[in-house]
């Protein structure tokens, strides 16, 4: 029998095809590979790849179940952890749409006429995010928040020719590492701006003293890695613009439902993580990098990645969608392209479009408020435990918040894990945080019981000191 995934592996078909080609065996088709490089089939077949033979479906299923039995997923309660990807409920309708073969097994829509549905879904992703951010141009996606940030910084270099980037000292340390990797070949320099230890807000005096004619961009997170909502977001933009620097805001999209959007705060570029919009955690990937700019030709010209646009058919009769502004991209511009990005996170963008459509204007606001309430409830209850400061930072927050424990954060985490709770990201090593500081996350997936249980076990951990 032929292989289920290789229809022409049937011997008679193979022979017939070889005859048409005019060769005696498949070996002949490889005759231009230098002899010293050619592997004999029996040599190749002995390589340690797979399990030494072709597996049947029941066999691979058994093997995968065995591997998955060595995974402990925390669902009740879900991890009280964010830090760049957050636990949220993924509606079944989202999973259903992205499992459809017409989307899942499609390529990049190079042939527009047969790919209109896919392109419309991606255009809708761009459009829904544009509403959320109140920014006019959104691309079809980047890999994740961090790489979107890396590319946004490179955009700034291309626009104003400067090399210095001002970032908050408490910024997501993984995002910072990625931004450094992206800007390193272009002599980019990330410089930390102080963050107030009491409020968690950016120190505006320190910002003023550091922003200068060398500054390519000022970047803030909104909400910050610490969960704190930067109240001075508009002022920071003014300070950046006065020195001719580009203002980049990094956002978590669900909280945008209740926060003033970057477009109304003076942001030139917004980046962010679309994972909360119906993607699941997946141990950190795939994610969904959001990248948006305001209506400014200079910025749009420097954008990386694909953009889908609304147009019409040549006869002007029907609405149609197409990949637009492609002269920025690698397949046309080659070495002069704005980026090398090709494959992006299209399916995840489609998922986000479904998610945003399901929740809608009122649902998303309700969800953001729900999360605000639950995270405040958790912080308040935790603060009633003696020895705990929660939230550690006084600035208004949503979803994530910091706390200071009377014991080492790592020890605290182990104790909770022994009680089947996965909670918190230790903050030691970041800016002025200590090894007793923790970043905690609460979303709609955590019920009141889950939170009360977290508080109860935290009490035990603290009393056990």
């Amino acid at each position: 029998m032929g292989h289920p995934w290789i229809p022409n592996s049937v011997e008679s078909v193979r022979r017939e095809m070889l005859e048409v080609i005019g060769v005696g065996s498949v070996d002949d088709l490889y005759s231009d590979i230098p002899e010293s490089l050619r592997l004999k089939p029996e040599e190749w077949d002995k390589l340690p790849i797979g399990f030494g033979r072709i597996l049947s479906e029941p066999e691979i299923a058994r093997h995968m179940e065995e591997l998955f039995s060595k995974i402990e997923s925390y669902r009740s309660p879900a991890p009280f952890m964010g830090g760049g990807v957050w636990p949220h409920h993924v509606p079944e309708a989202v999973k259903y749409v992205v499992s459809r073969g017409e989307f899942l097994t499609a390529y990049t829509p190079y042939q527009a006429e047969i790919s209109q549905g896919l392109m419309q879904a991606l255009f809708e992703y761009q459009s829904l995010v544009a509403e959320l951010l109140e920014m006019e141009v959104v691309n079809g996606s980047m890999y994740d928040w961090s790489s979107a940030l890396g590319e946004a910084l490179l955009m700034a270099i291309r626009v104003n020719g400067r090399r210095k980037f001002l970032v908050p000292e408490t910024m997501n340390p993984r995002h910072r590492r990625v931004a450094e990797t992206y800007t390193w070949p272009h002599d980019g320099r990330l410089v930390s701006v102080k963050v107030d230890r009491r409020t968690g807000l950016l120190d505006l005096n320190d910002l003023e003293s550091k922003v200068d004619g060398e500054t390519a961009a000022v970047y803030i997170e909104y909400p910050a890695y610490t969960g704190v909502i930067e109240e001075n977001a508009a002022l920071i933009g003014d300070i950046a613009h006065r020195k001719g620097a580009i203002y980049i805001m990094g956002v978590e999209p669900i909280s945008m439902a209740i926060l003033k959007p970057p477009g109304s705060l003076g942001a030139d570029i917004a980046v962010g993580e679309g994972q909360p919009l119906g993607l699941g955690l997946n141990y950190g990937g795939p994610c969904l990098g959001i990248l948006a700019v305001k209506w400014d030709g200079e910025l749009v010209k420097q954008m990386p990645g694909r953009i889908i646009g609304l147009t019409s058919t040549v006869d002007g009769v029907e609405r149609a969608f197409a990949m637009i502004l492609q002269t920025r991209e690698q397949h046309i511009r080659r070495a002069k392209a704005t980026s090398n990005i090709t494959t992006n996170e299209a399916l995840m963008a489609a998922a986000a479009a479904v998610y945003l459509s399901l929740l809608g204007r009122n649902g998303l606001v309700e969800l953001a408020k729900h999360i605000w309430y639950k995270s405040h409830y958790a912080a308040k209850r935790l603060s009633s435990i003696e020895g705990i400061e929660a939230p550690l930072l006084e600035g208004e927050f949503i979803m994530d918040f910091t706390l200071r424990l009377p014991l080492e954060a790592e020890r605290f985490r182990s104790f909770l894990k022994s009680r089947k709770i996965m909670a918190g990201i230790p903050l030691g090593g970041l800016a002025w945080f200590t090894s007793r500081d923790l970043l905690l996350t609460v979303t709609e997936v955590h019920s009141r019981n889950d939170i009360d249980r977290l508080v109860e076990v935290t009490g035990e951990a603290v009393r056990g000191v």
């Binding site: 592997l39 925390y74 499609a106 527009a112 977001a233 149609a320 511009r333």
Partner: protein, 523 residues
């Protein structure tokens, strides 16, 4: 496929749909105790959103219908052949879908204790070992999110290599063949290098004399795709590697076309130093309409300087197996690593997909995949040569192809005015996806066809028959093909309007603001 008609739904943009008050997802009710405990909802005035975002209000029914209709105006491997050259559009096995989209996986947080994800780390570790064996390399990392990011990883490793050796001031150039994918030169620039292109000879191999002339002290590295985008094996690969190594340059191998040699030769054996793979091409993970991908990067165990080796430069997290404890753990990027390219380990669900595929296939199954993909290509080419008159085969016309073949519609265009684009639209009309067109740039009116091992002989025959029918129509009535496609959800698209500063519409917001007179041309 006779009688193909794609759905035509004339579906409004989602922002035009809905009715205030509807919703598609019920938010869990907030417990009274929580509200009582926290008190009134409030945010600082300066950051409080005044109006809810301009999203639509729709029920779940409407949302599911809308997107299902959109899916019917889309086309993937599950519907028919997608023989896009250099894209390796294989069938995406459903057993892999089951595990890649498993709830047990999607609920894992990347910072949860590594004790709790041993099964996943084991899977990823084993995947890296398999990729090593497949490519003949010494160390692989599953970190990069896509092929282009794998390339970036490679180019940054080249940069770091020369920096650590104190030569970065001199090593300013990356060389790429003119047949390379656009990502290669774009990657070179992104990694801060000057990009130099070398031409392809008549036989389809790199022009070795031109390469020798281009290579010098300033050569930091060379990016090669083998088989090339012409589907041809680079016969002088060993000479190329020697020339580059002769000036202390590193050879980077673009694994996009690995299917063409899989099971028969390994890039690592040819002496390449760094490569990336596209798991969403060669290893059956789906393309998802453009992503997500997964682009692991692999290196040889080569000395950089002192005790630093090439593997120490690789970005991302290292999966370590400790024999004493039988446990797997992750290590952050070390001091010589180029760093991180994305925040977390990799595109895990795509990695799981590729793992299932390789586990099922084993060495023998992968070899058979490679062989049948090559068989399919050459069968297709033999049929085109024999049964059509208007399609020619430039560059090494008598050589066997590997995973893909490039035919030119130049003669057809010259004699009838019908172009590669018209041919592509004619294929769409009969329910096939078109080939990659106008690439590689060195072939005029290029049609770049890659069937992969997933296509049946019957599909290939039907494809050739359609090409034949198109040339017959073109010869008889050259105006006809200009009207194609007729059977897709829309006809040909206005790209001038799509891109003009006065009409370019990247979001619905732009349309609405422009219609209200609130938005000028894009400048």
């Amino acid at each position: 496929m006779e009688g193909y008609r794609q759905a035509v739904w004339r579906e409004p943009v989602i922002l035009e749909l809905g009715l205030e008050g509807r919703g598609g997802f019920k938010i869990p009710e907030l417990e009274r105790e929580i509200v009582d405990s926290v008190g009134e909802f409030k945010l600082p005035e300066s950051v409080s959103r005044r109006e809810p975002p301009g999203l639509p209000s729709l029920s779940e029914v409407e949302v599911v219908r809308h997107f299902t209709r959109l899916s019917q105006m889309s086309y993937g491997v599950d519907l028919g052949p997608v023989p896009l050259g250099s894209c390796t559009m294989k069938y995406n096995p459903k057993i892999a879908l089951k595990y890649a989209f498993d709830d047990r996986l999607s609920s894992l947080h990347p910072l949860q204790d590594q004790d709790t994800v041993q099964g996943l780390l084991e899977l990823l570790y084993r995947l890296e070992q398999w990729l090593k064996a497949i490519t003949g390399m010494d160390y692989c990392s599953v970190h990069p999110a896509a092929g282009a990011q794998g390339e970036l990883a490679g180019a940054l490793i080249i940069r770091k290599y020369h920096e650590l050796r104190g030569n970065l001031g001199v090593k300013r150039e990356i060389i790429v063949p003119d047949s390379a994918h656009g990502t290669n030169p774009a990657t070179g620039s992104m990694a801060g290098f000057k990009v130099v292109e070398v031409p392809t000879g008549e036989d389809g191999n790199i022009d070795i004399e031109a390469l020798k002339a281009a290579v010098g002290e300033e050569t930091a590295g060379f990016m090669i795709t083998n088989p090339s985008t012409l589907g041809l094996f680079e016969e002088r690969i060993l000479d190329v590697v020697e020339i580059i190594h002769g000036v202390d340059g590193l050879v980077y191998y673009d694994g996009a076309n690995l299917n063409g040699i899989m099971g028969r030769a390994r890039p690592g054996d040819a002496g390449v130093d760094i490569l990336h793979l596209n798991l969403h091409k060669t290893f059956s993970a789906p393309h998802g309409g453009g992503g997500p991908g997964a682009g692991p990067v692999c290196v040889k165990d080569r000395v950089v300087t002192g005790s630093v080796r090439l593997r120490d430069l690789v970005p991302g997290f290292r999966i370590v197996y400790e024999e004493s404890t039988g446990k797997y753990r992750l290590e952050g990027p070390g001091q010589h690593s180029v760093g991180l390219l994305r925040a977390w380990i990799g595109n895990v669900s795509q990695l799981v997909w590729a793992y299932v595929y390789i586990a099922v296939m084993g060495a023998k199954g992968l070899r058979e995949s490679g062989e049948i993909s090559v068989l399919n290509t050459n069968y297709f080419l033999a049929k085109v040569k024999r049964e059509t008159t208007m399609y020619t085969v430039p560059y090494g016309g008598d050589r066997f192809r590997k995973h893909e073949a490039v035919v030119s519609a130049e003669k057809l265009r010259d004699e009838t005015g019908v172009t590669a684009e018209d041919v592509a639209k004619g294929l769409l009309d009969s329910g096939f996806y078109a080939p990659t067109i106008y690439f590689p740039l060195i072939v005029k009116e290029a049609l770049m066809v890659e069937f992969t091992e997933s296509e049946t002989k019957e599909s290939i025959d039907a494809y050739v028959n359609r090409l034949k029918a198109i040339e017959e129509i073109a010869l008889k009535d050259p105006g006809e093909p200009k009207k194609w496609p007729l059977n897709t959800s829309v006809g040909r698209i206005d790209y001038v309007k799509a891109n003009h500063p006065k009409t370019v519409t990247p979001t619905w917001r732009v349309k609405v603001l422009r219609d209200k007179g609130l938005l000028g041309p894009l400048r």
